[in-house]
């Protein structure tokens, strides 16, 4: 009797372990599904990983691929955009995103961002938020150390050098804090969203009764300006604004 109980407990543990795959195993499983041509199956696994809070550049990129191959172009763009936030300079991600975007119905004359905003955003996405934050803190401490040396050292030559080093480290630290904050706001407080409904009407006010302003299709990237109940005010890439239903878009 005791043996049977032990055996059944062992069995239950085994079953539980099988059910609870590690994220790594699920990731590998999705890759195998993709290789065997089951794109929608792979996409579902990647999606689940994402929903469970797992993030990696490769995972998001693969998810975009799986959605693209299974025909869900809007989700593919969504995941490529997410992957690009982690690795803005990755060539494969940008290439696939460009291909996915070429299949979007809506074509916009995009108003480009100011070049320094673009550069700053790019720079701030080159490393994860925490890398920037930790480096900034270390630089700040270094700056303080140099300041201490400067203030206490008796000899003139060493004092001058430590003064400049302290100043440089302080400026760099402030810059890195700015990068970290910007990175955080881009990744975690992103205002961009991708339209997931195949067609959606933009209205002048939140609600079904207001006048219709424009019609956009799935895959278009918009910027969320305001939120009110079930409606979001979005800005199109060409600058126009309108209210659309919350169900029709997903934030990047």
């Amino acid at each position: 009797m005791r043996r049977v109980t032990a055996f059944s407990i062992l069995l239950i543990i085994c079953l539980l372990q099988a059910a609870a795959q590690t994220p790594e195993e699920r990731y590998a499983q999705a890759g195998q599904l993709y290789s065997s041509g089951d794109y929608s199956g792979a996409a579902a696994v990647y999606r689940k990983l994402y929903d469970d809070g797992y993030r990696s550049e490769d995972m998001l990129y693969n998810a975009g691929n799986a959605f693209f191959k299974s025909g869900d172009n809007a989700s593919a763009i969504l995941f490529y955009e997410r992957a690009r936030l982690i690795a803005p300079a990755d060539e494969d991600i940008n290439y696939n995103l460009q291909i996915a975007r070429s299949r979007v119905t809506d074509k916009f004359e995009t108003v480009p961002e100011l070049f320094f905003v673009r550069w700053f955003n790019f720079l701030s996405l080159l490393a994860p938020t925490n890398t920037w934050a930790v480096t900034a803190l270390l630089l700040f401490i270094a700056s303080l150390l140099f300041a201490v040396i400067f203030l206490t050292k008796a000899r003139a030559s060493g004092r001058l050098l430590s003064f400049w080093l302290s100043l440089a480290a302080l400026i760099l630290s402030v810059l890195l804090i700015a990068l970290a904050m910007n990175n955080n706001s881009l990744i975690n407080k992103n205002k961009k969203a991708v339209i997931t409904c195949s067609i959606v009407t933009g209205r002048s006010e939140p609600g079904e009764s207001s006048s219709e302003l424009f019609v956009i299709h799935s895959g278009t990237t918009v910027k969320v300006e305001k939120e009110l109940g079930d409606y979001l005010e979005v800005q199109l890439p060409d600058g126009n604004k309108g209210w659309i239903s919350r169900d029709c878009l997903e934030k990047i």
Binding site: G31, G53, N65, L144
Partner: protein
């Protein structure tokens, strides 16, 4: 006399005739379509009576009768036997469908009257298939036209169940029992869902004789064609209409003077246009099985594929011909061009496509590619695979041809070879666009966590670092201040050192060594004075000390006391007798003095 004998013979004959039973038989179709012409034939085995036609229904349009009579006289063993037959043919067209009864017709001779039996006839609505003996079979060649109809048109199909693209051979055949003077008009339906291809058919000049179900017909093939079904489903072929020109006698001929020979001369023969149609047919077209192979290009039938190449050793820019021949039975015209991946460096031109068929769907289709090698080297012309659907085996069959190896040599001694040709770099050919493949390496998965910048403790680190630095700076500044003032240091240290020596003197005193205690007292005093007054040990004399003390505005009484104590310690050191002051009293005075000096000098 002779004439009387003849009369007797005639009478005998008449008697014998009268003795033979006289009958009137009717031959009429059991059914006919409204508007269709049918015949009612009365045959009487007598010729000398009067035929009284039946009362036809009002809705019948009756023409005729066409009367013919024949007499047959036989002499058998010197006995004459004579039979005579009268045939009357009525052509009737009924306009309204329904069931009709044609009442009996009567034949009246001088002696008796004979009636025919009544005939029931069903007139069906126009276009509906007559119910009479037409057997539906897969082979319609055996189908007989309706007995009793003189003119009919049949569309004979070799099969009624095919696959999409599988050819159906159709023959439009005319069956007639009456004289035709020609075919006026041939009207095809629009063969919805089919592609029609006419087969060369010789014009109908003479009819062939064919006996079907014991009835002789004149038959002729009007047109033969092949139908290629393009879509699947039950496809209906609507009627083919022709207008035939029928020779018809209009005058009512005398039964007693009915001779076909004379008839043709004397009766009025007009040509009547008669419309004849085929019955609609249904062909069941099955779709081709899925999935279709990638190299299937619509060829349905049984084929074989051969290839040939005009030459395998060529010079650069010298043309060669690559020929693919598709041979067999099937939809040759619709068989698409195979996909051949000629190697890069060999220029391919669009093929010349020729279809040769021997009147039916059997024949050959050739694809002639003109190839011009533009580079030297050895090239492989790959084997061509071409998939066709064989409807008899009901499966796809992949035909393959052999590959070729082509050696392309530079043109030796040619004018082109002697002059170097500038070959500009070729652009890379991009064939398609697709996303790049997924990554299979390390996942690098991280669980999403709130970043440091959104946590308070991160910012507290900055504050802490700043605070720590401030503390360090403050402490350091203090230390520097003190280090910078060495005098002050000695000053502060003076009373400490003096006190230490005093306490040491005290302990020596307690252990009963007054000499050593006195010496220690002297050290304490002199050390204290040196440190406090910042006098170097070499200059440490009583005078110097007193001068410095006076400069520090120390009271004269204190200086005198100091002098006394110093003298007392020196005195006790050099004459350690009991005279003078006791060491304990001296110690107390010295300690009190240091306390006083400390208060004044600091």
């Amino acid at each position: 006399m002779r004439s009387s004998i003849l009369t007797v013979i005639c009478l005998l004959t008449a008697l014998s005739l009268a003795a033979q039973e006289m009958t009137v038989t009717v031959d009429a179709p059991p059914s006919a379509a409204a508007g269709e012409r049918f015949r009612i034939i009365y045959v009487i085995n007598a010729s000398d009576g009067r035929f009284m036609p039946p009362a036809f229904d009002q809705s019948f349009t009756v023409s005729g009768p066409q009367t013919s009579s024949s007499r047959n006289v036989q002499w058998i063993n010197g006995e004459m036997k004579s039979t005579s037959t009268t045939t009357l043919i009525y052509y009737v067209v009924a306009s309204t469908p329904g069931k009709y009864t044609i009442p009996p017709a009567q034949y009246e001779t001088k002696k008796l009257t004979v009636s025919s039996s009544p005939v029931e006839i069903e007139i069906t609505s126009a276009g509906a298939a007559p119910a009479q003996g037409v057997r539906q079979g897969s082979r319609q060649e055996q189908q007989a036209p309706a007995s009793g109809s003189e003119l009919s048109l049949r569309l004979l199909l070799n099969t009624r169940e095919v696959y999409v693209g599988q050819p159906v051979t159709a023959t439009l055949k005319l069956y007639t029992r009456i004289n035709l003077s020609g075919i006026n008009e041939l009207k095809y339906p629009d063969f919805k869902g089919f592609l029609r291809e006419d087969i060369d058919t010789p014009p109908l000049t003479s009819l062939e004789s064919e006996v079907i179900d014991g009835v002789q017909y004149g038959t002729g093939v009007l047109q033969r064609f092949v139908l290629y079904p393009q879509i699947s489903g039950e496809l209906r072929i609507d009627s083919v209409h022709i207008t035939a020109l029928v020779k018809q006698r209009t005058g009512v001929s005398d039964p007693f003077f009915s001779d076909p020979f004379f008839d043709s001369f004397f009766s009025n023969v007009t040509t009547v246009a008669m419309k004849v149609s085929t019955r609609p047919a249904v062909i069941k077209v099955k779709p081709l099985p899925e999935p279709q192979p990638a190299d299937f290009h619509g060829a349905v039938g049984s084929f074989e594929l051969t290839s040939s190449l005009s030459k395998t050793d060529v010079e650069v820019n010298d043309a060669m011909t690559y020929t693919l021949t598709l041979r067999g039975t099937g939809n040759l015209n619709l068989a698409g061009e195979p996909v051949i991946n000629f190697p890069q460096g060999i220029e391919k031109y669009d093929p010349k496509v020729t279809v040769k068929s021997s009147g039916t769907s059997t024949g050959t289709k050739t694809f002639e590619y003109l190839l011009i090698p533009r580079n030297t080297g050895t090239f492989e012309l790959p084997p061509v695979s071409y998939t066709v659907f064989d409807p008899t085996q009901e499966k796809y069959i992949t035909l393959r041809t052999a590959g070729y190896t082509v050696k392309v040599t530079g043109s030796a001694g040619g004018s082109e070879a002697s002059t170097p040709v500038f070959v500009p770099g070729e652009d890379v050919k991009y064939l398609g666009q697709d996303i790049r493949y997924i990554r299979n390496g390390d996942s690098g998965l991280d669980l999403l966590s709130s970043p440091l910048v959104s946590r308070t403790y991160y910012w507290l680190w900055f504050v802490f670092a700043l605070f720590l630095t401030a503390v360090i700076l403050l402490l350091r500044r203090e230390q520097m201040k003190r280090n910078a003032d060495i005098k002050g240091l000695r000053n502060r240290k003076a009373s400490k050192v003096a006190r230490r020596r005093l306490s040491k003197a005290r302990s020596l005193l307690d252990t009963g060594k007054p000499e050593l205690a006195n010496a220690e007292l002297a050290k304490a005093l002199w050390g204290y004075l040196g440190d406090k007054l910042a006098i170097a040990p070499s200059d440490l004399t009583k005078d110097n000390c007193f001068a410095a003390l006076r400069a520090s505005r120390v009271e004269e009484g204190v200086i005198t006391e100091l002098d006394l104590i110093l003298s007392a310690t020196e005195y006790s050191r050099y004459s350690p007798s009991s005279e003078g002051e006791s060491p304990a009293g001296l110690y107390k005075r010295a300690a009190a003095l240091i306390g006083k000096l400390d208060n004044v000098l600091d």
